[in-house]
Amino acid sequence: MKRFEIVRNRRWFFLLSGTITVAGLLVMLLFGLNLGTDFKAGTRIQINLNTSFSSTDIRKLFQSEGYSIGQDAITSAGTVNQTAIIRLSNTISASQEAKLNQAIKAKYPHAAGAEIDTVDPIVARDLSRNAIYAVLLSSLGIVIYVAIRFEFRFAIAGIIALLHDAFIVISVFTLLRLEVDLTFIAAVLTIVGYSINDTIVIFDRIRENLKLTKVKTVEDLENLVNGSLWQTMTRSINTVMTVLFAALMLFLFGGVSIHNFCFALIVGLISGAYSSIFIASPIWVAWRARSLKVQKAAKS
């Protein structure tokens, strides 16, 4: 059976990933990420309704007043859960505040006056900055370990794939205008973990095969890596399938508030499995092939 030449067709995969990345970058520069209430200056409204309520009713009430309500924007509070806390992703004026209070009074006559505060997202901002540092520093740690256990080129190729996956998820969320909240950070961190783990397993097979065969030409190298990719293909597919099952079940049957989180996981897992095979290893081949040519030129 003739197997598909993954390594020789690497240009197409670089092109595909590059296109998504550039498209995501463009949309992000033009429109920015669709930030949720966690990251934006918003409004926090706390009302004691003095009666039990359903969050669906509250959502409808706010929507009819022209406010968009995020997925986890409504929480119940108080010892008997008769207080509603609503987060809006925009600040509101005094006249809007009065109008809103009227609408609430009309629906819940026993409601006490609403407490309305402006929220500064200082903590969420600090956290996302911290997340970026954490991912970059983790990458550095991974580079050092992989450079010692494997070689430097593997380390860099693995990190490019890892950052690629994080970026693909951010791009997809930007393109689809999905809301980014604090759980998104957790999803990206999870994807980073999965991506590097998945890549290292394939690199390990390449390393093992390198010990068994002598690589003289670029063609040898391409054949060896292509072979390694196909040897680990069943494992790559089976592993991502099992994790995808779990993420898909959480997406389909889990709570509404983790919907976007699970979607980010699904996109990231697919990207992570894809990049280990079609991006990380081909990058390594391209780099190694170049130094192979340089060595040859030096010899002749």
Binding site: G78, I142, V201, F245
Partner: protein, 408 residues
């Protein structure tokens, strides 16, 4: 020939794992502290007041948030949510149901410690102490004390030299705790505060001393109990969905890998059970990001098994006997598994060291789940597979997911 002793050992281990997980999991689950997003807690709103002679500025707000965070952590509540509202309001949300009055006190109480000369002059204050105050029992009387250490031992040495043979009284918030007479010069900067009425009082004082002073006074505006943002209902749905996901993984593993697949499922049950134990034992707060790390851990545990079984299948296809395939396949797979897990472990460790809040929590959950996944997937599952193969129960390689009759 079937080797019964090995088969029985195998079955006993499997039965013990399934039995323990089946009977105690629910109890252990209730002992795991859940984060604010999963179980709710309470919410206090403070207004930051101007300090005497010092107006509140943006840096002051930041310093207050940092001090409150440290105090909340001192309460043993991890991942508190602390938000700044407007220019001078801070909202603190703490997870869990506990003594709210005491928690509020711990957030705002100042421990104003003073060391006073007999003439009432303040010689040293709590600000001169290192933040390593700790409770200790007096070696002679057994009474509760607080041990403290001064940042600058020379300063303390000078005080003990000047007041040798005289009394230096220790005051907490204006109340005298003790009035010890300095009997000798102390050069190492270490001192003990006596006069505590209970161990609780001593540990509380140690915590308050360590938390340091609040840079600005706080006024409480409101305090209310809050429900979980994820919702109790949502958590329930999410857990159910998780169970469905794991069942699907089990079915997949058994369908593809047959007998080894069953062993992988047993190892996965052990993984989840051990994780519950570790989380409950170490009081790691479980939040949504933590759950995500655990899902990743399940994935990596499954991956370790898949890597091993694919290797074993490779060896079988090369015509080796079942036993030698299992031995060499799992040995070769082990190196791969260790390298890939260690790499991810490093990522988790870095997130723990340099991260804050959620990121730190994710790092902890990731490291714990990798270590447990290595123990169950690489050690336990491998041992069970070898034990089962050596029992000679199965000779047909079809039961290992490889086509083509009995092995040699």
């Amino acid at each position: 020939m079937i080797k019964w002793s090995r088969l029985i050992t195998f079955l006993v281990i499997v039965a013990v794992i399934l039995g323990m997980a089946g009977t105690t999991s629910k109890q252990i689950w209730t002992k795991i502290p859940l984060g604010l997003d999963l179980q709710g807690g309470f919410d206090v709103l403070y207004q930051i007041q101007d300090a005497p002679g010092k107006k509140l500025d943006a840096d002051g707000v930041k310093a207050t948030v940092a001090a409150l965070t440290q105090r909340a952590n001192g309460l043993g509540v991890s991942e508190p949510s602390i938000d700044v509202e407007g220019t001078r309001n801070v909202r603190v949300q703490l997870a869990g149901v506990f003594d709210q009055a005491q928690a509020r006190k711990a957030l705002t109480t100042e421990a104003k410690l003073e060391f006073k000369a007999p003439d009432g002059e303040v010689l040293l204050t709590g600000a001169d102490l290192k933040s390593n105050a700790a409770y200790e029992a007096d070696p002679n009387t057994g009474k509760p004390d607080v041990s403290v250490e001064f940042k600058n031992p020379v300063k303390f040495d000078q005080v003990t030299k000047t007041y040798l043979g005289k009394g230096v009284a220790i005051y907490l918030n204006g109340r005298m705790l003790s009035d010890p007479v300095i009997s000798s010069e102390i050069t190492n900067g270490k001192a003990v505060i006596t006069g505590m009425s209970s161990i609780d009082e001593a540990t509380n004082l140690a915590k308050l001393l360590n938390a340091g002073a609040l840079p600005f006074p706080l006024k409480q505006i409101s305090s209310v109990a809050v429900g979980p943002s994820l919702g109790a209902d949502a958590l329930h749905h999410t857990l159910e969905a998780g169970v469905v996901g794991i069942v699907v993984i089990f079915l997949f593993m058994i369908a593809v890998y047959r007998v080894p697949g069953v062993i992988a499922c047993v190892a996965l049950v052990a993984y989840m059970f051990l994780l519950l134990c570790v989380f409950a034992g170490l009081h790691v707060t479980l939040t949504l990001p933590g759950l995500a790390a655990l899902v990743l851990g399940v994935g990596m545990a499954v991956d370790a098994n898949i890597i091993t079984y694919e290797r074993v299948k490779d060896e079988l296809r090369n015509g080796r006997s079942l036993l030698s395939s299992v031995i060499s396949g799992s040995r070769r797979a082990l190196r791969t598994i260790i390298d890939s897990n260690l790499t991810t472990l490093i990522a988790g460790a870095v997130m723990y060291w340099f991260g804050t809040g959620t990121i730190r929590g994710f790092g902890v959950a990731l490291m714990v789940s990798i270590v447990v996944s290595l123990l169950t997937a690489a050690v336990l599952s491998r041992y069970l597979l070898l034990l089962f193969t050596r029992s000679n129960c199965v000779r047909n390689t079809r039961l290992f997911g490889v086509k083509g009759g009995a092995s040699k």
